[in-house]
Structure formats: structure tokens, C-alpha cells
Symmetry: C2
Subunit: 534 residues, 2 copies
Amino acid sequence: MHACLVRRVIQRTYCQGLTASSLPGRNDHARDMRQRGQSRPHGVVQGISRYHMSSINNSANTDRKPKIARGPYSDVTDADINFFESLIPGRVLTNPSDVDPYNEDWLKTCKGSSKVVLRPKTTEEVSAILSHCNERKLAVQPQGGNTGLVGGGVPVFDEVIVSTQLMNKVISVDDVSGAVVCQSGCVLETLDNHVAEYDLVVPLDLGAKGSCQIGGNISTNAGGIRLLRYGSLHGSVLGLEAVLANGKVVDCLSSLRKDNTGYDVKQLFIGSEGTLGFITAASILCPQRPKAVNVALLGCESFNSLVSVLKTVKSEVGEILSAFEMMDHATMEVVTGNLNLTCPISNNPFYALIETSGSNSSHDQEKLNAVLEKLMDKGLMTDGTLATDMTKIRAIWQLRERGAEALMVDGYTYKYDFSLKLSDFYKLVEAVRERIGTKATRVVGYGHLGDGNLHLNITSSEFKKEILDLIEPFVYDWVSQHGGSVSAEHGLGLWKRNYIYHTKSRAAVDIMRLMKQVLDPNGILNPYKVIPAE
Amino acid sequence: MHACLVRRVIQRTYCQGLTASSLPGRNDHARDMRQRGQSRPHGVVQGISRYHMSSINNSANTDRKPKIARGPYSDVTDADINFFESLIPGRVLTNPSDVDPYNEDWLKTCKGSSKVVLRPKTTEEVSAILSHCNERKLAVQPQGGNTGLVGGGVPVFDEVIVSTQLMNKVISVDDVSGAVVCQSGCVLETLDNHVAEYDLVVPLDLGAKGSCQIGGNISTNAGGIRLLRYGSLHGSVLGLEAVLANGKVVDCLSSLRKDNTGYDVKQLFIGSEGTLGFITAASILCPQRPKAVNVALLGCESFNSLVSVLKTVKSEVGEILSAFEMMDHATMEVVTGNLNLTCPISNNPFYALIETSGSNSSHDQEKLNAVLEKLMDKGLMTDGTLATDMTKIRAIWQLRERGAEALMVDGYTYKYDFSLKLSDFYKLVEAVRERIGTKATRVVGYGHLGDGNLHLNITSSEFKKEILDLIEPFVYDWVSQHGGSVSAEHGLGLWKRNYIYHTKSRAAVDIMRLMKQVLDPNGILNPYKVIPAE
């Protein structure tokens, strides 16, 4: 197929004023999960299987049940409850039906037995709560939107749950510097809508944006689809305020873009999943909101072609590239077969979804058209379409975003989230496919190719231990041997903490233990998480 | 002046293929300082005055002499030298004339009395050296290119100097992901030239690039002119290898863009100025090298107009903006008056230097032209020129980059480097100007407006204590009261460590002390630096 054919399939429609946040599909399944309560879907998760679900609360016949003993913490007494009630009257939940939703993660992979939820509104209240808990040696479960995927945000036993739900004030927006300061309980989507009024965009976008909170995002160093464009939260968080286990408030809430006065202490709290401190407020560098968004879907004959497409696109339109997602043929089969979605281009072994965001729609389309013609001339793509209006953009994004939902129709999904070098990226999918043979319904690979982040999924009609044993620890060992990460963007939480040595060196884990010991000597903050069992 | 006049002064010349690194002027004065030796210029520095130069080595009549007592470290013995010589034969310098250049910073603000320089080539050698020094309680001075501006890279007393000069191997370049892995002694400019062969660019550019080393850049969290575009090193450093004070090697040398397996340990070593560990290798995310560079110089009638220009430019050409520098009228006067440079536009109270870097030169020029017309229509600029060929770009950059050199012609320069909110940014210059009156030759403000980073300079025919006393601690107090940073990009080192509380909270400094105590209990790494005196 040559250039003129690309031009034929490319639809030159124009759509000014479309912003990334108006793209549908991404957030649908996760939106407002709290409200959905018991009806929230199972299984829409990376890296955890339902197999885990019974591993703590039931004595399921599994040799993988975490062997966790309750730590040497005090029990919550009536006197504690009275103290909390005097501190934050009316914001202490103890009724089991009120507490229950906070005890269980939204995927229902684990459930604790906490008897109390505290809902502070201010940093001072968080400080007083932690100070009391530390003195009393009460274990504490920090909780944001409870959208985590590795069991990091819910109690394992009877930890006191401290929720940021009511800490949802936007403190300031500087529309020139882009610095936005807010409390940690701001819901990501709400915050993004707020800053949109100032032509800014939160440099983070992920499926759970309708429920997840910025404090939780920062605690877990959330990745998502904007990472390719705006980088990680280690770069875009300008400042943090956090409360240490002993109640001491650490004010690093700078809104300055540059500040080299000593160690960058706030970095300790980014990605440590609430085990080193409780984030109460954040200052985030929000870039200018893009005025124009375009999306292209391309078909490629091989994975190597797909990588060449990525390289060419980065080279030719690097400054406006805002997403580069990949799907394999099996992904396209499952979304078209199980959800009746339509793929607008011909069948191909691999697909690339390319999104650009810039200030000038016609410039961006011109650049995209030019690069598509170049790719066609080089034989790197076989077919493609360019969408510039919202309906077509929505339809293309659904092919990528509804993969998890489509897989659930098969029955049971074994889900993984890895970072790999691009040279290894798809070899893992092929290795798993070969290893499992016909035992599984399908083995599917999709993900954020631009970030080297693979979501590997295997399905069967129901959970089968035989299949799980073929997958694990094989995939973890494979990823480790190939220098990858066993958790690209989801963190370790409860479920993955003992896989840490598959990616991190012993010396680095030793330093983690030192940090934990120094900042939380009683180990009250989010126990049983992140740090591997001894 | 209306739009047609802008169009008249804008020169529509085209220059494809120009890259940021080919821009001259920026690096001239600092290039290869090591080779220049004694002829290196004094005074081209932010935040340190010559006043400091005699403060340690001479008993100058100053009440600001740091009152530092030598720490409880051992003296270097012949046995130590023999051990080092057996470890790295031929790479132990003890001849005073060889050691001398390593003892003194290039600005000659401070000079230590070390008797030995070690030049390891490998991480294992660094590990063996530190292990020995830690056991023997020998203080250690890590040193990169020795281009620091706060006395952080040279010994205060007789610390063993460990130089990364010979650790200059590029280990790998991944031209698809952009991950570049190298030893810490790679000179920034050499590294940038190397990755240019792969169409990549190191996401850091600063005046000293011809001499400074990437390990030192990372240790000091260097900022520079590309920060506006590519963000800080906390975001763009993917991995680090560092050796702890006890010789233990911490391997966090990941090249993965996403890795959420536990705490991001490498962040500890970014910006801690060698006090927590010795960086031996780094993995850096290098973006695609821009194909097209354009530079515009605009004149504005007020500082508020300048800020509006920044906001408009970020909004209209945000995705290609690679520098937004400001100069006041006094800056333009000193570069034109003292260096005979020519300003290509009419006299104005304020000037903006705007650089764009993108993939398509004509698109970028079209966007820039459009935004300049808009600015003119709004009355935000009074005059402007757009340069697209190398000669004109060079001439414009010199107006900004040779400011420090021009100031030296006045005699003595008192230099400062602050981060401030844009609403306060220029008020400090005005406050200092009013406070000093006619006592100084001039008070000049220029800097990285896009990052809120002000370089404040005051000159007089010679150093005058009376002027210094008018400036300090006034400026530090002013910056602190306005929530700014007393060190935007230069770090604290020796000279600024005791100003840390002007910017950082006591709780944050307490955490710094804990980190230092835990990772370097004997305090051998870069003593007397960063952490404030008790």
C-alpha cells in the first residue's frame, strides 16, 4: 500500500477546542466507583487476579496466601474513639455499614477489619490524629480514593483508616507559572476541571480519574497516559506538605519551579505509598491546556515495524506527541468480538494509537499527515486513519481503553503490568503464549508503548490454578532477567511487595528499610505494605 | 506601534537544521575552564562575591568568615597513600602542583589544603576508596568538573579529593527510548555531542557545559536554560548508581521510564551535593533533538507587560517554547555600554528573549509571528525582532549570556540567584535599587523568567563592605518573606548552607539531618557542606 492510499483513508476533518479531558471512554468504567459500591466490576485491574481475593480473609486452598501476622500494635479502645470524636466531631465513622466500604479495595482483592474511619479536614487534624496513634501505637491506614490496584490503600487487619475524602480544597492557582496548590483529597478529575478554567491541565490522566485523589496519585507515583508528554510526578510535583508518623508537619509546599536549598525532601513521599508520611497538600506544575487534539490509528505487520513507527513519530512530531499506545491482534479481536466495537482499518498483527496535543490544529494535522505518508512510503504501516472530530476520536480510544472490559467477557483474567525495554517488550507476550498453548482462551498484549509499559493479560473461562502456575513466577522471573520492572505504574502495596527483589537491588531495599525506620520507628503508617517481609 | 510594524522588524529568514547545542555564546566563557587554569575569569558567578575569597584562608577583616573547625577526621598517612597507590596505580596525585588545581574552586572563592587526589576509573575503585576512607575516618571531597558556584566541590581542609575525571565512558544509548547510560565523569557537552549522533539531546544546558560533568550536574540538581522545556533532573534522570560512604554500591541504574517498585531511592542522590553518596553512573532520558530553533527579542514597557507576554507565549506556542529569558534596561545598558554589543530593537524598560525548538521550522515561525502580532495588538510589546539564522540568533543570545562578563567591567559584582513568584520577581530589584541609591554603579536584574529564576547583580568600582551590608541580609530576608528560594539552581555548598532556613522549614532540615546520619554516620562525605552548622 502506498502513500495515496493513506491519504484516502485519512479523514481530514477539523476539530478545534477539543481537549484531552473531553475524550470519553477512558474514565467510564472507573468513574465514581465509590457511588457504585457493591456493583463495581471485578477484575478491571493490572497485576492481581481474583485468585488473591480470598487469600487473606478465607483460608482458601492456596499456597500463595500471604503469611502475615498482625503487628505489635495496640487495639483501638473506646477512649481512642472518644479522643477522635472530640478532635473531629461528627467525622468519626464506627458504624460497620459505614466503615465497610473503606475496609475493602474496589477490586475486592482484599478486605481488612478496621472499626473506625477518621475524616479530617485540615493538616492540623491529621497531625493530631497521627500524634495520638503514634503515642498509642495504633496502626494507621491512609486512604485516598481507594482506587489502588495492589491492595495498598485498605487495611489488612484493624488499622485506623484516615481518609482524605474531606480534604478537597483547591488552595491557589497561578495561571502564569501554572503552579496549583491543593489539599490531597481533591479528586483528579474535579481538580482538572477546575484548572481548565485557567487554561491549565493537570499533568496526569488515568482511568480512575473520576474517583482517585491527587494525594493518592502522588503517594503511588501514578503514571497514566500523559506521562509520555509531561513526565513523572517526581518532576511535576513542585511541593508537598506531609505529616510524619509522629504528627510532625513537614512543610515543603513550595510553588517555585527551582529550589536547590538542600535535599529535595518531598521526593521521599512521592511513590512511598503512605508508608513514610501522610500527604496533606500538594503543589503541582500544570502545563498549558492543549487547544488541539488529533488521534491516528495505524496498522503494522510486525512488532519491529511498530517500534520503528514510534521512533519516527517521536522524531517528526515529538513536541506534540501526547500518547503512543499499542495493541496486538488479539486485543483487537477481543474488543471487536466481545464488545462489538468496530476497527476502522484492516486487520493487522499490531496497531498503534497515536495522539497529538498542541496549540495549532492545522499544523498538527499537517505534521501527522506528513509522518503517516513517510511511514507508508517506508513500508512501516499498512493502513491508517486520522481522527480529528470527537466522535471518531472517541471510537478509536475505546478500542484501546475498553480492552480490560472486553477481556472480562471471556470469564477470568490474569493481569500483569510490566516495564520492559522495547527490544524485549513483545517477546514476553510471545513467550507466555507459547508456554500456555491452548490452555488459555487468549493471551493479549497492549499498553503504553511510548513508556515501555506492557499490560499482559491472559484469559480463561474460569480461574484455573494450572494456568496461574504456568504464568507465575515465570513472568516475574522473565521480567527480572530482562531488566524490567514488575510494577511499572501500580506500586507494590500488599500484593507485590515480596516481588520487589525481582526489580530492585538489595542495597536499594536496605535504604528503603533505613528510611522507614528513621521516619516511622513504630511502623504505624500503612503496615504490611511496600517493604518486603523480612 | 501596531502589527504591521512588527512585521517590518521581523526578519523572515529560514534556518533548518540548527540545534540548540550549535548556539554559540552560551558556553564560551566557561568552556574548558580546567585548561585555562590560572587565567580563568573571576566573578562570573551567581550568589558569591569576591568578598568571600579570603574568608577561609586568610584572616581577612570580616565578621562573615565561616567559623568552621576541622571535623574529627583522621589525617592522611603514608600508609593511606600506599593503599590508594596499590588500588589505582598511577592515578594518585600527591605532588602539590598537581593537587593544587583540585583544591581551589574555579572562582577562587575558597581553597582547601588536601594533599591527595584520587582518580578512579570504575565504580569498584570508588567503592574500595570510600570503604577505606570510612574505616579510617578520612574525610572525602567528591569532585566533578569543579564548576560549582557555592564552594561545594572543593575541600575546606585536607579532605581526600576523589575526582570523577577518568570516569567518562558512555555505556549505552537507546535511540528509541532515549535512555542514555554513562559514567558520572562524562563532560556535559561531550555527552550531548555524543547523543546528537542519535538525534537525541541531553535535557540540560548550562554555561559550564564544556567543563561540568553529568555526575556533578545531577549531584547539584543543575537547572539551566532547558529546564523550562524538559523539567528538572528529578524527572529526567531514570536511574543512578551511587556508592555510599561505607563503600556499598547502590545500583538503581534503571533505564525504564516507569518503575514503581518501592521508594525511588535514586532521588536521594539528586541535589544532595555528594553528601549522601558518590554518584558513579547515571541513566538519563534524552528527548528527540529539535530540528528547528527560532529566537525572538521583544521590548516591553513594564514588568507586568513582560509577564503577560510570558503567559501569552506559553499559551500560544507552549509546546515548542525552549527558553524565556528576561533582561531589564540596566542589563541592556551594561552589555551594550561595556561590551559594545548592539541591541537590534529600540530602547525599552524590559526585554524578553524567547527561543522555540520544534520539528518544523516554518510551523514554528508561523506560530511565533502570529503570537508577536497578537502581543503588538494588545500593546504588550513595543518592538521586536525574530531571528532564524545562526548569526542573528548568536547576536541576540549574547545580549543575555554576556551579562556577567559585562558587569565585571564595572569593577566588582555582588551576585545573587533567587527563585521568586512572578508577582514579586522584579520588586526585589526595585527594592534593592531604592535601598542602595547612588552608592552602587548599577543594580541589574536578568534571568530565567519562565522558571521564576532571578539573577540579581549589583556593581561598584571595587568591593565595598558598606554596599554589601546594605544588600545582605536584606535580600535573603526579603526573599524569605516573599516565599522565594535563596538558591534557585546553584545549591548550598559551603557558602549558602547557613541560609537554608530562609527557604526550608525546620522540619525539612531535620529530615535532611536524619538522612545524612543514616547514610553517612561518620560524616565523611563532603563535610561542612549543605547541612547547616548546628
